[in-house]
């Protein structure tokens, strides 16, 4: 069943939803990364909650005009307008008053959402009878998704991606160093507004699938997931797009494979699964890698200190050091150095002297920055460089080279 879903063989609606969710995931992941890099991830939460009054007002207007009230394009246009108003209010609060951004986010989020809920209740008592579906914008509803709905998502997502491509350099520069960007004459506030406008576009486009409460997860989680895997912002952006797209696709497939599984929340859970996987398993920034690195580092420090003590004829009392040295075959059970141990100890002492020279010489700065107290010097320098350093140390000094 899940296989049928993953290969898009579960019928027309399921296929539309899967394609739409994938596109939405990609554009949300890519756009959200810039918000994350700018350290304004929570702005997306305010923007998304500010869409609700717009949806309701648009519905009322459409009904008053004698329409059906469920025209998706009309409802999305309404949501975009009220999200934009919320965005401008928030911007004004942070720039013109002493309110910090988090307070402004809280104020806008709750007031707009509260107003939206009031409007929603009014609509339900209006007796129009066709309002069923508006609640779907809260958590997304994909049951009755039409071809036209999927097209709106596809076009909106593609337009967002294109704009991100055009604005990626200024947005990165502003995120990294806003003062420098301002000194270069970049219109920082307009770039920020453009970035938030893109987030708003993704939010509006995603209302149908994941709904306004959960869209924030799709904007932020892929970005933080991707950050575990790369130290380059371009790669973080691409990986976030990939993580978001995969989450959308797999989530839609899972929800289609069984009755009564909500699409939006499942997508968010799949996205979260990627996050947990990255949190633990990412090679450099992951938790497991960090623990292993720490243990390995500790072991190396102990062995190194043991070797230096041996080389200088000091007695070793630390039990962990002794155990590690014994296990490596560097000392005998009675604590006396083996032949290998003696050779390694001599080398360690020699390397210490060499590092001392390297670290004292500005010409070797890039190498010196790699010093961690125990790295074998030949892993970072050529034999000629080492020979030159040995000439500076002069003589064997009782230490084998």
């Amino acid at each position: 069943m899940i296989w049928d879903a993953l290969t898009l063989q579960l019928g027309y609606n399921a296929t539309l939803v899967a394609i739409g969710a994938t596109l939405l995931g990609v554009s949300a992941g890519v756009t959200g990364t810039f918000l994350f890099l700018r350290k304004r991830a929570l702005v997306s939460d305010a923007i998304s909650h500010a869409t609700l009054p717009g949806v309701c007002l648009a519905f009322m207007v459409l009904v008053a005009l004698g329409g059906d009230g469920r025209n998706l394009l009309g409802l999305l246009a309404g949501s975009a307008i009220s999200a934009w108003v919320g965005l401008l209010c928030m911007n004004w609060l942070t720039r013109r008053t002493r309110l910090a951004e988090d307070a402004a986010i809280g104020a806008i989020l709750s007031v707009f959402f509260g107003f939206g809920i009031v409007l929603l209740t009014i609509i339900q008592t209006m007796g129009v009878g066709r309002q069923a579906g508006l609640e779907g914008f809260l958590l997304g509803s994909t049951a009755g998704m039409l071809w036209a709905d999927a097209m709106i998502i596809a076009i909106g997502g593609a337009a967002t991606l294109l704009l991100v491509l055009i604005l990626r350099r200024p947005m990165t520069l502003v995120a990294f160093d806003p003062e420098y960007a301002a000194a270069r004459g970049l219109p920082i506030h307009r770039i920020d507004l453009a970035m938030m406008g893109l987030v708003m576009a993704v939010t509006v486009v995603g209302l149908k699938i994941v709904g306004l409460i959960l869209i924030v997860a799709l904007l932020i989680i892929p970005a933080v997931t991707a950050r575990f895997w790369s130290e380059r912002s371009e790669h973080v952006v691409l990986l976030a797009g990939l993580a978001g797209g995969l989450a959308g696709y797999i989530g839609a497939a899972i929800s289609a494979s069984a009755p009564n599984l909500p699409t939006g929340p499942i997508i968010v859970l799949v996205s979260f699964a990627f996050f947990v996987l990255s949190l633990f398993c990412a090679p450099k920034r992951g938790v497991l890698a960090a623990v292993l690195r720490h243990l390995r580092f500790q072991r190396r420090v102990h062995i190194r200190q043991g070797l230096l003590a041996l080389a200088q004829g000091q007695k070793i009392y630390e039990p962990l050091t002794l155990r590690l040295l014994r296990r490596a075959g560097l000392v005998r059970p009675d604590g006396v150095a083996t032949d290998t141990g003696k050779a390694r100890a001599g080398k360690a002492l020699r390397d210490e002297k060499r590092w001392e020279i390297v670290r004292g010489d500005q010409a070797h700065e890039a190498t010196a920055a790699l010093y961690d107290g125990m790295r074998d010097i030949e892993t970072v320098m050529t034999h000629d460089q080492i020979a030159e350093i040995d000439r500076q140390i002069g003589g064997p000094q009782g230490v084998p080279a």
Partner: protein, 267 residues
Amino acid sequence: MLDLISNEGVTVEAQRLEDSPLAVRGLTVSYGQKPAVFSVDMTVQPGAMTAIIGPNGAGKSTLLKAALGIVSPLSGQVIVFGQPLDKQRARIAYVPQRASVDWDFPTRVIDVILMGLSRELGLLGRVRARHKACAMDCLNRVGMRDFADRQIGQLSGGQQQRVFLARALAQGADLYLLDEPFAGVDAATEKAIIAVLKSLKDAGKTVVVVHHDLATVTDYFDHVFLINTRKVAEGPVSEAFTAETLQSAYGGRLATAQIDQISRALG
């Protein structure tokens, strides 16, 4: 150096707005009700190295930021190479304080230098071999060539500062404004930075530095601008950097012993 007319061994300062790479008139900047910089006139001399000095909170960095339009002034005007700031931005390079950015940002050293080339690269232009070569050359000038591919989070404070300087060099500007480039850096970095700044000056560029170490002013700079919210003194080091001007800029905040030491150093 056209603007400095030598007359029987006495240099005459460029006074006209049009002759100065950076002239500020009546600049007032205020955060809230208390002005940080009040009605300041400054005329930077072309082809010279100028230090902006003053006590903590005297408005040194604010003056620089207002001159660059990073903070908007309450009043006053900024003239760059005889024209409004926005027409001459391409000729200015700014080196912000190291602590103003998050060094855990996912980017490599070379990418930071390439930010200095953003004007040449445009929005969609590809980074080509010549851009990389230019960036590497700038890194080389600050002695950081071998760091190009490292993540910026791995750098020491001094190395971070030199990366920022290299990014400014990449712009190929005529006027360099640096905010506390020597704060919290190692001696090797200070030497490297000052060597680069002197080479810029020798190439006819203008350098303005917000500086806090009074002991090195006479060694490093030709001109000083003393500020304590208002302008205190401006001119060649030999004339404007004296025990009296320091006393008046720092008030009680500078120990008498320090002033004595400096005036002895000045002879």
